[in-house]
Symmetry: C2
Subunit: 574 residues, 2 copies
């Protein structure tokens, strides 16, 4: 801590003189969000892109599949003549890589290198296949430095809930940025690849201008537990299981899944895999040799497991978040060829992501109804460990890198704020910690960082089916109204005579159950007729009439039902 203070105290005098004279802008395109990671490091002529991930729709974003970063700023810079120096993907989670198939085709040209660790590369290529895309990805050797125009990038292997997580030491014309993507310090990782603290410390010794890093668990005290700590619980539970042992976790957590396979083998259980996401990820991992030390012949097709003694079966199943269409949810509702029976044990290794609690609760209930023993986070906190650093680990990273400035990423405002407090405890001042809001940009000059006066456009670009960005606030607002109150369409055929019964048609959906409310519907029709017929002469201003009838209906319907369906009126002149 003293060292850091000293480092910072000297900042304004000696070190500023020594500071590189180049300029740099740091542009987080997905700022203010836990997911949707995409960062631009921008010099006078070039841009380095780090990550390209999707975000997950909030509850009120009805019908939205996913969210991608807004690249308007990037496209503008490219039009102005800047070049993309390269693109680096730090690890294989969807919120860091899964926007690639949407973003890359939007760029004028993909004439730059795309870099990722071998496993991340495999995951990306599998996604490209789904989209029938074919961009080359270069595998990173984490012991080599890569030169990308204005940028020199070297790597520190880190631990996380997916293998091959990489921190980046980015040398720029304006100084060194340490890009600390999602990580934890796990000293007993399941693959034995330890966090490369030596490299981190060396970066710190050479001088880090800004530490950009994961703050998601900044509210958690102490250190996170190691993946290895799960082994004992898993083994005990598997030993105790009298029927099939069914396991679910995040599909990309290759090492945890492999651990479970090893335990199953030791426990004389054949292994069946259920669910596309896990099958694909395991296939990618297998191709890279991750499963080489498992004996062959331990697998069995999930559909065939019913022929075995349940005590000899272990199923690895996708769907730890209770996703409705996942394998586990379908098995729980009996809607899958692989069945769960009384006496089976289901271990859910994962906490519900905020927003998924009801879905996970419903899953647990359905499984319990089938007679399964369900092990989950509410009854046992030892079934899962987080992949993210906690307070003391964050301090360790700060202590190792000793940056002049800090920028928390990958958390909500509350998380970033908590990170700031932690940095303040270590001796930093408030203005050395940059909490960026949506679209905010920082710029580096003469070894000093300041908030830029301009903004990057930072809309939520929503993906719905084949549409990218065509669903905006107007459409979402309509969906919210339709969801809450349904809709009513009145079609009025306007002739020269007064309106008659057959001139008005009313259609509703999601408003009231028409069959049981015929009287009300008839009353509505009569109200429309008398409202239109009030006019002495034939109405010529159709739009005016439409607006008037809509207003009338909205008021009348609210008074009678206290509901506000979306009301549409179409007047046809016949």
């Amino acid at each position: 801590m003293f060292d850091i203070l000293k480092f910072n105290k000297t900042t304004t005098t000696e070190q500023v003189k020594q500071a590189p004279t180049g300029k740099l802008r740091i542009v987080p395109l997905g700022a203010g969000d836990v997911t949707k990671n995409m960062f631009l490091y921008e010099t006078d002529t070039e841009i380095l892109i780090v990550d390209c991930g999707i975000g997950f729709p909030k509850e009120e974003m009805f019908g939205i599949d996913l969210i991608i970063p807004d690249i308007t700023y990037l496209q503008k810079k490219l039009t102005e003549g800047k070049k993309i120096a390269g693109m680096i993907l730090t690890h294989g989670h969807d919120d860091h890589i899964a926007a690639l198939p949407y973003i890359l085709p939007q760029l004028p040209a993909v004439n730059f290198g795309i870099y990722a660790s071998p496993l991340t590369k495999k995951f990306i290529e599998t996604q490209f296949e789904d989209f029938k895309l074919n961009y080359p990805v270069t595998a990173i050797n984490a012991d080599k430095t890569i030169e990308l125009g204005d940028f020199q990038v070297s790597f520190c292997r880190m631990t996380h809930s997916v293998p091959e997580d990489l921190h980046l030491v980015i040398k720029t014309p304006a100084g060194t940025i340490y890009h600390g993507t999602d990580y934890k310090f796990d000293w007993t990782p399941l693959d034995g690849v330890l966090p490369e603290v030596g490299k981190i410390a060396a970066a710190g010794n050479s001088g880090v201008l800004c530490l950009v890093s994961d703050c998601l668990n900044s509210e958690e005290q102490g250190y996170s537990m190691s993946e290895k700590s799960l082994m004992e619980t898993f083994e005990n539970e598997m030993n105790r299981a009298e029927g099939k042992f069914i396991f679910t976790t995040q599909s990309s957590n290759i090492l945890r899944i492999k651990l479970l396979m090893q335990l199953a083998h030791k426990n004389n259980r054949k292994i069946g895999v259920v669910g596309r996401s896990i099958e694909e990820n395991l296939e990618d991992a297998r191709n890279l040799g991750y499963l080489d030390d498992l004996p062959t012949g331990i697998y069995v097709r999930a559909e065939k497991t019913s022929k075995f003694n349940p005590k000899n079966i272990c199923l690895i199943v996708a769907g730890s978040q209770g996703q409705v269409s996942s394998a586990l949810s379908r098995m729980a509702s009996g809607d899958h060829s692989v069945k769960i029976q009384a006496g089976d044990t289901v271990l859910i290794s994962g906490d519900p992501i905020p927003g998924n609690e009801q879905a996970v609760g419903a899953l647990i209930d359905s499984l319990a109804r089938l007679g399964a023993k369900v092990l989950h986070s509410r009854i046992n906190s030892q079934l899962h460990v987080s992949g993210h650093a906690q307070k003391e680990e964050m301090k360790l990273l700060i202590g190792l890198t000793r940056p002049r400035y800090l920028m928390p990423i990958g958390g909500t405002f509350a998380h970033m704020n908590e990170y700031r407090k932690l940095a303040e405890e270590m001796g930093y001042s408030k203005n050395q910690v940059f909490i960026l809001d949506e679209g905010e940009i920082v710029q580096v000059e003469n070894g000093m960082i300041n908030l830029a006066s301009d903004h990057a456009q930072a809309k939520n670009v929503l993906v719905d089916g084949l549409g990218i960005g065509d669903v905006g606030n107007v459409v979402l607002r309509d969906r919210q109204t339709l969801a809450a109150e349904g809709m009513l369409v009145a079609i009025i055929s306007l002739g020269n005579d007064k309106l008659k019964n057959e001139d008005v048609e009313i259609i509703t959906r999601g408003f009231i159950f028409v069959k049981e409310n015929k009287e009300f519907m008839e009353e509505l029709k009569q109200q429309i007729i008398s409202e239109v017929n009030k006019n002495e002469q034939k109405v010529t201003d159709i739009l005016y009439l439409q607006r008037k009838i809509i207003q009338f209906l909205e008021k009348y319907i609210y008074r009678e039902t206290k509901r506000r369906p979306l009301v549409l009126v179409e007047v046809l002149e016949v």
Copy 2:
């Protein structure tokens, strides 16, 4: 434990002989749900009703305000000549009393006594006022037994997160039922009214046939913490607070709110109350003398607090669950006359109810952005204690009542299942514990309990605006489709000639942003025209044409957009 075993071991021989010979049915109208509590105890001629609460809509029940119990079974029994002997409300939470204004008017006559403790009575009367209803409620003296036809009911004062919680000892012609509504054993309750274990033990000594009781926290080990344990944390945080101290908790937790008022007074802070639910509940409590020992003059109108030094202000605010329209949410978004400033402290005393996590997370974020220090359950587990018994407390209640049978209530299937395991640990057999699914009924005869062969209808009766039960599965399904994909209405004016451009109108909402998709809309129109004009002669079967066009549009739209909006086609003959 041995005692219980002995009690149960003798059940089949001696005790069955001694058992009362009458019959009883236990009918939980809201079974399979945590909330929506309503229980019928039914003899050959009479029915005792316990509680009448609302349920809360699940995430996918778009637009639904609340759910009430289905009383079809009750109404049938009344038609058949049975009488309601009386109605008892166990405590003042909405999931136990708030369906009264909906249910009572549905009954052929309210010619029976409605009983509640004085505070619960006040809460009920305040609700009746909102609905302009006027049914008399009789205040329970918990030391007196009341005779209600076939039933003799006595009371045990219990502790919970609202004062005046009552357990019921119900003597019936078929034996004694102990109705253990939501409770905990709090030995240092803030009002000093201890759980009446003496009475419970006496009931146990006289023989309890069935313990019907709260199982919500059956997944939690050990004992729950006392309300009093919160005092120290609250006081420390208030002392530390440099600006206003803003406090929120469940509005009915009168004693916790009073504790905070006492601390505020001690701390030289004037108290302002914001939010209708808290104001109303405090008013009810004040009328019953709950606040008599607080000095007068400690209050200040919330709107005037801006004139005070923030250090001298404490606000009690409604909205601990992040409800969008609550006072705290509106203050957090700056949309309230009472303002939150940098330096204020907000203490959220409560855990998010499953399903509210995103809303509470958003609230915390908004408050942090305003510069407030936010204390919440993610960073401090000492800010709230549950009102529900945990495992060891449940065992204590079982040990005190020593029932022959058990029936967990007020939990999901997973909670009831966990309760069953706990009872099994104490020596009960699986078939002594009744886990009832929706609509299931048990019947008591000769001291034995069995599942009845008939069912009570147990639909979710949904309340939406003024409509009770008129929104069913059809309407909900339409709302879900409308929410996810929006809708499209095509209006076709069919004359004798081929269709022309002006004969087709298309309206959409929540589907795509029409202004930016004019080409697609035009293409749709042309597709409809050519589809209709395919027919050589004028179509006479309008319904057939309608269906055909709908099918065609659904297919075409899905192919082009991978979306499935609700498609409606109206064909008008002109």
